[in-house]
Amino acid sequence: MAESQFVYVTFIRTTPEKLWRALLEPEFTRQYWMGTTQESEWKPGASWQISFADGRIADSGEIVEIEPFRKLVLKWRHELSPELTAEGYSRLTYELEHVGDAVRFTVKHEMDVKDSKFIKAVSGGWPVILSSLKSLLETGESLEATRGLPKGK
């Protein structure tokens, strides 16, 4: 059991297939995830990384478990702040469950470090990204603030 973790759940009126694509594919992620894209072969043991439009790698890790349209588990380490990189690998779990005309989407992010600074840092970012993802899938438009990095960063 992780020392630090959070669990977020949001309902998105879409299908598991569409949500899955939106989570993995660059043409979607760059719209709601600060302009970032993810690279991986998306199979167990494959490396994984997330990078900004300018090429900087923000986070990297490995696919632990993948069950298309249903579940993804990643090892995830932040790479831009030495303090956060030093905490090592966190574990991210996505779970997608079809409920009526929506998908119950669960995001769990955890780390075996007590009072993890990384978990604290990402716990504030996830709700913004998830709201924007929801908006993109339900209305065709992501939230403006999430389409790229804030100015000066």
């Binding site: 669990v7 709700p127 709201s131 939230l143």
Partner: protein, 109 residues
């Protein structure tokens, strides 16, 4: 069915349930027993309130062995904010909130 705003507002309407959310905000991932400690409510009452919070997905529960851990889920409230105030002057609202917090001596944090 989750994502229902009526359930969210109903769950937020009771001070006891807002208190439970405050407790989870202070320390996330508590069991029923931990939540009951220092609360002037019966275990049955807390159980009932937690059930409504879970139905509104304001609280998400995860099992760890035989322990049920409760986590604060900010998404419904975040979505309410996004729906009604997201389009307006978010920057100015944040500045006002920060000013208010400073003037009040940050007693809330």
């Amino acid at each position: 069915m989750g994502g229902d705003l009526d359930l969210v507002f109903k769950a937020l309407a009771a001070p006891e349930r807002r208190l439970l959310l405050d407790r989870l905000r202070a320390e996330n991932g508590q069991t029923l027993g931990e939540l009951c400690r220092h609360l002037d409510m019966t275990r049955q009452a807390v159980t009932k309130h937690l059930k409504l919070l879970e139905e509104a997905t304001l609280v998400v529960a995860i099992w760890r062995g035989r322990e049920k851990l409760h986590y604060l889920n900010p998404m419904p409230i975040h979505e309410i904010a996004e729906r009604w105030i997201g389009k307006y002057e978010r920057g100015r609202l944040r500045a006002l909130a920060e000013l208010k917090a400073k003037l009040e001596g940050e007693t809330d944090g």
